[in-house]
């Protein structure tokens, strides 16, 4: 089994359509806390969309609705024309933290989804080699436990695991936010190279405007809670992109536009060159966490 090499952006599969999506957490006292309010979003197969918004705006919740982990209160989420009714093998999910099983080796973490799906060992081993190559994982470390790996390597393992079932859509929830700035930049560019080969649709939640611009075709800005789409900004940078692209005047303009929609009072200013916004993790308040 090899990883499909397809023409990016022209794929028919992996199209996500969200229509009038509402979501609310119920508090312990029984009150409803609206988190998403009528989110409409259409993502073509093979596209890359970055979701950006203030803390607590429901970005992660939106990602979990697309992943089928949370059911919307109203509206619908569709993948290639069929409603997303629950976790789906066509969707791969990378969490903010690597979320590896500490008692398994890196290899066994990567093939965990295949094991759950009942793949025989021989096929799992074969697929493991392809996946390690795809995410640039040194084959020598696959026998190691997660605790013996660096943060970056752990997230590579998590990425390989998300790609194990050859998903049409890859959802990433601030995947590189725990990494240092330089490593993060490198991972963003590696993600783009991976996308060119694996050709999945990518939806990435991020806090960093430069990261959003570097990676995405479109940057979707969400309002403070309850989250709505307040802007959908095209990033007009040619691909393949490099880190030098972030220095263009167009990037500053796009960055300013995104900031304006985020309600940043300093929106008139320039984007810091290569500036990386490292903000605290966005989470629903503890009492709503499921």
């Amino acid at each position: 089994m090899t990883v499909a090499v397809a023409q990016a952006r022209t794929r028919a599969l992996g199209a996500v359509r969200l229509r009038g999506l509402d979501f609310a957490f119920s508090t312990r006292s029984g009150a409803r806390l609206p988190v998403l309010d009528g989110v409409d979003l259409e993502i073509g197969g093979g596209g890359i969309v970055a979701l950006i918004g203030p803390n607590g705006c429901g970005k992660s919740t939106l990602l979990r609705v697309i992943a089928g982990l949370l059911a919307p209160a109203a509206g619908e989420a569709m993948l290639d024309g069929t409603p997303i009714a629950g976790p789906d093998p066509r969707i791969g999910l990378v969490f903010q933290e690597p979320r590896l099983l500490p008692w398994r080796s890196a290899a066994d973490n990567i093939t965990y989804p295949l094991e759950l799906a009942g793949w025989p060992t021989a096929r799992r081993v074969e697929r493991l080699a392809a996946l390690a190559g795809l995410v640039g994982l040194d084959p020598a470390v696959t026998a190691s436990r997660p605790s013996e790996l660096s943060g970056g390597t752990r997230q590579r393992v998590a990425l390989a695991r998300a790609l194990a079932m050859e998903p049409q859509v890859l959802l990433l929830d601030e995947p590189f936010s725990a990494l240092d700035a330089l490593t993060r930049e490198r991972f963003d560019l590696e993600l783009l190279r991976l996308w060119e080969r694996a050709a999945t649709t990518i939806v990435m939640v991020t806090h960093s405007i430069p990261e959003a611009i570097l990676v995405a075709d479109r940057v979707v800005v969400l309002s403070p809670r309850p989250g709505r789409v307040v802007a959908d900004i095209a990033v007009d940078l040619p691909r393949p992109r490099t880190i030098a692209d972030l220095d263009q005047a167009m990037v500053s303009r796009t960055s300013r536009e995104i900031r304006a929609h985020l309600g940043d009072p300093d929106a008139g200013g320039e984007a810091e060159p290569g500036g990386r916004v490292h903000q605290p993790i966005e989470r629903p308040p503890a009492e709503f966490a499921s």
């Binding site: 629950g86 976790p87 099983l101």
Partner: protein
């Protein structure tokens, strides 16, 4: 263990033996009160070679093994239910705590009355005494399974059974084995107490015989030594299982 570690273990044991011998020499206690270590050692070897201890040991080991298996097995199921259901916890925990708080010594004669002086009564006592620590450890272990890992399992469409076998059990295993370390040593206590209350064979019976009918204090010490060694051996078995299955994380 390294050579140095073994040496220090041996040194501490030598100090223990010397202190024992010293007490005997200084106080002049007679052997039927406190026999010196060399008397106990020779009685220990003698009782083993003439076949005095072996049949009693075999009986006790069977009681411990069966009692532990039954008690720990039930404890795993109940501990899981306690962890995952608030209703089960509310309804059952008073009885569990009460059963644990009642001295096993007080229950042993009752069980002897109900189940007779054979194997069954001892298995029940062992199971009862093993149950509580293993059930509590299982409950704590299952509750402490990282909810984020469970979400991962859900996102990968793991079945209930797969969540149990690939996430919950491995994550709770260090806790569960910690409870079993306690449980396995308590199982030995349970078996001896049960035999004390009425039995015709077992290490507890042998202690009674040595003390009462035979008036053989060195044999009593040799039996106590055997019981202690059984406890240590069983404990080490659990530790070895832990090394094998939990290892470095």
């Amino acid at each position: 263990m390294s050579r140095g570690a073994w040496l220090s273990v041996g040194a501490v044991f030598a100090v223990f033996l010397l202190a024992w011998k010293g007490i005997v020499v200084v106080t002049g206690l007679r052997p039927f009160i406190l026999p010196p270590p060399e008397t106990v050692a020779s009685r220990f070897v003698g009782a083993w070679t003439d076949g005095t201890i072996a049949p009693h040991l075999a009986t006790t080991l069977v009681e411990v093994a069966l009692g532990f298996a039954v008690g720990a097995g039930l404890a795993l199921v109940v501990g899981y239910a306690l962890a995952r259901s608030a209703v089960v916890e509310r309804l059952l925990s008073p009885y569990l705590v009460a059963a644990q708080a009642t001295p096993i010594l007080a229950l042993a004669p009752l069980f002897a009355l109900w189940f007779g002086s054979g194997l069954l009564g001892k298995v029940v006592i062992c199971a009862l005494i093993v149950f509580f620590p293993v059930a509590v450890a299982t409950m704590v272990g299952i509750r402490s399974v990282d909810a984020r890992l469970l979400e991962l399992g859900r996102s990968l469409r793991a079945t209930r059974r797969q969540i149990l076998t690939t996430l919950e059990i491995p994550a709770a295993l260090p806790n569960i084995l910690g409870g079993m370390r306690v449980g396995v040593t308590l199982a030995v206590v349970g078996a001896i107490v049960g035999e004390w209350a009425g039995a015709d064979r077992g290490l507890g019976v042998l202690i009674n015989l040595a003390r009462g009918s035979l008036f053989d204090t060195p044999l009593m010490f040799a039996t106590l030594l055997t019981i202690a060694l059984v406890g240590i051996a069983l404990y080490l078995v659990v530790v070895a299982i832990e090394r094998r299955f939990v290892g470095v994380r």
